[in-house]
Subunit: 116 residues, 2 copies
């Protein structure tokens, strides 16, 4: 699967990769230490297994996440943030600031998240 | 139309408002001076009239954009960024940095855009 870019605009091209309601939630969870398929399912947003499967596949195809086998029978994988995924942190931090400013009753992010 | 928030996470809640492939492209165009429906249609990403109508309606409902009439027969509107929309700039700037770093051949944004 190759991402088709709508234009050479860096904003539009970034949105071609992360412009949906779920991808950055998975990145948030990876930054907070989650690694396994079952762990992502426990987040409060209640992602479905089919959306999670699709998004993890796209994240891997786009090089934001790597997959490592940790059990062979049956095969089980852990998902590891690649540098290309980790470098999304400033976007997530800016979203925290905006969300805390403009959406009532949002959680304050941990200082460790905002200062990494 | 009221946005339903999936959780009190500020990242998830922000994505509930701007988490799609088109909303931030309209915000980019507004920041760059576009105001009229027909102007948004000329951007290189080629948004369709139906997607543009839907997204402008959601932006207005969420208070990111205000609509002002500029012609009465027939009625024509201009779209104006509200403060809540303008404060998305740091998210767009972070997307420019990420896109320029990780996606080949993306445009360098104008210095005026990155320094506002």
């Amino acid at each position: 699967m190759t991402t088709e870019f709508r234009s050479p605009c860096p904003i539009a091209s970034t949105l071609d990769i992360i412009g949906d309601r779920w991808t950055l939630i998975i990145i948030r969870d990876l930054l907070n230490g989650k690694k396994r398929f079952s762990e992502f399912l426990t987040s409060p947003e209640k992602i479905t297994t089919s959306v999670l499967t699709t998004r993890l596949g796209a994240l891997e195809a786009n090089g934001l996440v790597a997959r490592e086998i940790y059990q062979t029978k049956p095969k089980r994988y852990e998902y590891i943030l690649a540098d290309k995924g980790r470098q999304l942190v400033p976007i997530l931090q800016a979203m925290c600031v905006w969300g805390n400013t403009f959406i009532d009753d949002t959680w304050a992010p941990p200082a460790s998240f905002m200062q990494q």
